[in-house]
């Protein structure tokens, strides 16, 4: 309901479309978490008032159309290279808000080197890393984050540790790097987790705006289409099987208030 309609009906408006989120229908499949995550990003762009200062590096994956939804300047990056592209943008325009939005194939397979090194250099950039345990855009092939035993189009007998390795826990990897300042893993499968995810996004944005360095938000997400599940079942898998292997929580918060 629009703000106007709410006022007319004399009701209190508690949640509206973020201004930086365009009023267009999603192309995402039903039950896909990309849309929810886009919204969380848009909320923080509004919250910090940085819409006119944003230059984002979109990646190649189901989120390639980031620019169709967010009303900000966007540059399309080659598959995996978003963090190198974002490095170029941020170094040229240090006072702009620069972020990447990348899938697990993009960030943790083809773009591993670019991702690790941008973090290690401590680039003052924010990363939204959407881990859906699969290559969504190309039709459901195995990703570096595909769970053990998970059937995909290129692991038709299920992912096996022997020969395919076990899923990469990217947040944990990033947290080992001195240059990474804020590293967290969240999910958007429940109201409780959504609230935590919103707080994590806010904190990640704050890091960049305060010049505190590289901030990384891994979001566990569903891909009902390629998981061949109903939206409900896919949603349940995120909080269940996925969160069991990829523990939610904050792995690094260099500027956390001291406890003493």
């Amino acid at each position: 309901m629009s703000a106007q309609a709410a006022r007319k009906k004399d009701m209190e408006l508690v949640l509206d479309r973020p201004q930086s989120l365009k009023d267009v229908p999603w192309h995402f499949c039903p039950g896909c978490h990309h849309g929810v995550i886009h919204r969380l990003v848009a909320e923080q762009i509004d919250n910090f008032g940085v819409r006119e200062k944003c230059v984002a590096a979109a990646s190649v994956g189901c989120s390639v159309f980031l620019y169709d939804y967010l009303d900000i300047d966007v540059l399309e990056s080659p598959h995996g290279r978003a963090l190198a592209v974002a490095t170029g943008i941020k170094r040229a325009l240090p006072d702009r808000f620069v972020f990447t939005y990348q899938g697990d194939g993009d960030l943790a397979a083809i773009g591993t080197a670019e991702s690790i090194h941008a973090a290690n250099r401590g680039e003052n950039i924010t990363v939204i890393f959407v881990n859906n345990a699969v290559y969504g855009m190309t039709g459901g092939q195995m990703a570096p984050t595909t769970l053990e035993g998970q059937v995909t189009t290129t692991s038709p007998y299920g992912r096996q540790a022997d020969g395919m390795g076990l899923p990469i826990r990217m947040a944990e990897v990033m947290a080992t790097l001195e240059g990474a300042a804020f590293v967290t893993r969240v999910a958007v499968d429940s109201i409780k987790n959504l609230k935590k995810a919103r707080a994590a996004m806010k904190r990640a944005f704050e890091y960049q705006i305060k010049g505190w360095g590289f901030s990384f938000v891994e979001v566990l997400a569903s891909c009902p289409t390629n998981w061949k599940m109903t939206p409900e079942a896919a949603n349940a898998r995120v909080g269940g099987e996925m969160a069991a292997y990829f523990p939610l929580g904050t792995y690094k918060d260099k500027h956390a208030p001291k406890a003493d």
């Binding site: 230059v55 399309e76 080659p78 170029g88 943008i89 325009l93």
Partner: protein
């Protein structure tokens, strides 16, 4: 008069870039072009610029993509294997119409090859070594001075056409040490309303190469094609002692500078020979080559490879004059005397291939 300095060819490239206002450089070490990143790493910080030694050539070309998208003048350099790794990024620069300068101080191949001078990357450079139907302007200097001058020009052409421009040298041109006149750069770079700087005071905008809707990509490709057609007006060449020549040698870059002396040697012996040196290898100076073939009646192409530019020469000549070829694959650098001898041999045999 402008200051004259004694510098390596690679340093001349870096100096030309800085003179033209380049303040962002991203690269990865590889011989024989290391003096470029080394010079940039020392000088750019003094000018408030940015030098990053990236984790790979793939990363560096993508940093170029990002920084250039903001409207800055940006450069990367490498040598053959590294240039191969940059091809996907160059294709994106073309597809998204983002200007940048890429320097290839090429070395020998295939594979690891070696660090000898080689012109083996001519096809890759002039055909656009990445995917898709695109073109990059390619400038081929043949002295340290031209490394300086053409690097400056590369930035102007890149901005003019919103397209990446390559400077194609080789190990010889990177490592040679000669005097360079540091001509001041006087142009004013154009405004870049397309640049991504944040959408303050204007609607948000994007730079992309993805066009999925029916017909959109067709339109995009035709628009790019029209731009590439316009780029053809940038064809440049240089003639040396060609006026009354009965044979005109065609060569670019390092081998062309060796051949100047070969021409002098042959002229001293009474042989009427001249030299045509393409300064741009894309666009190729077709008309000049055709005119030379008509005037002299015979061309000879010499390259530091087993025959690449000769195909462009033959295409330009359209079979209307004989075109001989002599190639020196990498590993040995021919002397002016060697090449003069080879020209005489072809001359005696007569008639082209």
């Amino acid at each position: 008069m402008a200051k004259r300095v004694m510098v390596k060819g690679n340093e001349a490239v870096a100096m030309g870039a800085i003179a033209a206002g380049c303040r962002f450089y991203f690269g990865y070490p590889i011989t024989p072009q290391n003096e470029i990143p080394e010079y940039m790493s020392a000088e750019l910080p003094k000018l408030g610029g940015t030098f990053i030694q990236a984790e790979s050539e793939v990363a560096s070309i993508n940093m170029v993509l990002g920084a250039a998208a903001t409207g800055a003048r940006v450069m990367t350099s490498s040598s053959s294997p590294g240039i191969s790794l940059k091809q996907e990024g160059m294709s994106y620069l073309c597809g998204s119409e983002i200007p940048a300068v890429i320097v290839n101080m090429s070395r020998s191949g295939p594979g690891l090859g070696g660090i000898h001078p080689s012109q083996g990357d001519y096809f890759q450079a002039t055909r656009g070594g990445g995917h898709g139907d695109y073109r990059t302007l390619v400038l081929a200097p043949s002295t340290a001075q031209e490394n300086y001058d053409l690097t400056m020009l590369a930035f102007d052409l890149a901005d003019k056409y919103r397209n990446p421009v390559m400077v194609l040298g080789d190990a010889l041109l990177g490592q040679i040490k000669e005097p360079v006149e540091l001509k001041p750069y006087r142009k004013k770079p154009p405004a870049k309303p397309w640049a991504l700087t944040g959408c303050a005071g204007r609607p948000s905008q994007l730079l992309k190469s993805l066009y999925l809707a029916d017909g959109d990509l067709t339109v995009h490709n035709w628009n790019l094609f029209k731009k590439y057609q316009k780029m053809r007006q940038e064809a440049r060449h240089e003639l040396y002692r060609a006026d009354d020549a009965e044979v005109i040698l065609v060569a670019f870059g390092s081998v062309a500078r060796i051949l100047r002396t070969s021409v002098d040697i042959l002229r001293d012996k009474g042989k009427k020979v001249g030299l045509l040196r393409p300064v741009t290898v894309y666009p190729f100076p077709d008309e000049a080559v055709r005119a030379a073939a008509q005037a002299a009646g015979r061309l000879m192409v010499l390259e530091l490879n087993t025959g690449q530019m000769v195909e462009d020469v033959r295409l330009a000549v359209e079979g209307k004059a004989p075109v001989d070829f002599y190639g020196c694959p990498p590993g040995t650098i021919p002397t002016p005397e060697d090449l003069a001898r080879e020209v005489e041999k072809m001359w005696r045999k007569g008639g082209g291939r």
